[in-house]
């Protein structure tokens, strides 16, 4: 059975009822892992509270932070501060410099581009080549596709079609997520897979972008964040008390 993942729920953390409704809805629609966008300064007990809600809904919580730095220097500073605190780091690329730095940095998991401004979608072949070497993934958020209408949606679809084609050519993993702010904007994984037909993504690739690709990111990062991790392929299996 496929384990579906929605790595991008923009639930208002202060409104726990709303968070609970969204998590329950995700669980009901067949997701087994959800990524909640958390503020960088979140306290441990708040995360525990969210973890408790997720356990009740039989869903696995992934902590995620969205960084939107203005310069590549700011991005490096943020990555140093937050990499060991969150399981998934997404960078919203608002300038070409930030986009290039994010694509080549192995600490960045997801490359996110603003949906409403096509001039700020810097995912071109050069970006894809860097991303494929650094194992960064291209994130496609589905909520703008539902909310935009008319010419803006046409432009977004045409841009996504191009980006998906580039990602496939350079073997950059694609991750599809909801980006939902309320439960009415969450759709089931098969519905998202059907929606990706609009930008020429095959249903097979779409299902992989909703399951295998995000699971790879989460598992890789959980391994790195575990205290037993030493280096890729090396971990502590037993500790001996030496006095």
């Amino acid at each position: 059975m496929i384990r579906f993942v929605d790595l991008h729920l923009r639930a208002p953390i202060k409104d726990l009822d709303q968070v609970e409704r969204m998590i329950r809805k995700s669980s009901e629609l067949g997701y087994r892992l959800v990524g909640l966008v958390l503020p960088p300064n979140i306290m441990r007990d708040q995360i525990n509270q969210l973890q408790h809600i997720c356990n009740d809904a039989k869903i696995d919580l992934v902590t995620r932070v969205n960084l939107s730095p203005k310069t590549s220097g700011e991005l490096l500073r943020d990555l140093r501060r937050f990499r060991r605190k969150f399981e998934v780091i997404s960078v919203t690329c608002t300038s070409k410099g930030v986009a290039r730095q994010a694509a080549k940095d192995r600490r960045v998991d997801l490359l996110h581009f603003p949906a409403t401004d096509p001039r700020k979608r810097f995912f071109d072949p050069a970006e894809a080549e860097l991303a494929s070497k650094a194992l960064s993934s291209l994130e496609i958020e589905m909520t703008p596709l539902l909310l935009l209408t008319g010419f803006s949606r046409i432009r977004l679809l045409s841009r996504l079609r191009r980006e998906v084609e580039i990602a496939e050519r350079f073997k950059v993993p694609v991750t599809i997520s909801s980006g939902a702010t309320n439960e009415y904007l969450i759709r089931g994984p098969h519905d998202y897979a059907a929606l990706t037909v609009l930008f020429n993504m095959s249903v097979f690739s779409a299902l992989r972008a909703l399951s295998e690709n995000p699971i790879d990111i989460v598992e890789r990062n959980r391994e790195k964040l575990s205290p037993d991790y030493v280096a890729p392929g090396i971990r502590v299996v037993r500790r001996k008390n030496c006095v």
């Binding site: 596709l145 309320n182 759709r187 609009l198």
Partner: protein
């Protein structure tokens, strides 16, 4: 002799802030198909609402099997019904009504 047209039946769950009737559901689906695929695409979909139970917010929609993915995409793109936030989830797909009902009862 022409071949019989193959069809697909979709089980839908409608969620809305206000009660909706059969007419509202099929109108919302038609509007979404027209918006995404235009009149040409809509003409190929062969859409028809087979049943709607307002108490359970459950509907069964029939479409041509070649247009299934497009119809599913259109249904997923519905964000409001009668101007109120709403969502229509496709909970199952089948080639026959009988199997779909069996799946829906599970």
């Amino acid at each position: 002799m022409s071949r019989r047209m193959r069809r697909r039946y979709l089980a839908l769950k409608v969620e809305s802030e206000q009660p909706v009737n059969e007419r509202d559901v099929i109108d919302a689906v038609w509007k979404a198909v027209l918006k995404l695929f235009g009149e040409y695409g809509a003409s190929q979909a062969n859409l028809s609402l087979m049943e709607y139970t307002p108490q359970r917010n459950f509907a069964i929609l029939r479409c041509s099997h070649t247009a299934l993915e497009r119809v599913r995409a259109s249904i997923a793109s519905i964000t409001e019904i009668n101007g109120k936030p709403a969502v229509v989830h496709a909970t199952g797909v089948s080639g026959t009504l009988r199997t779909l009902r069996k799946k829906a009862l599970k």
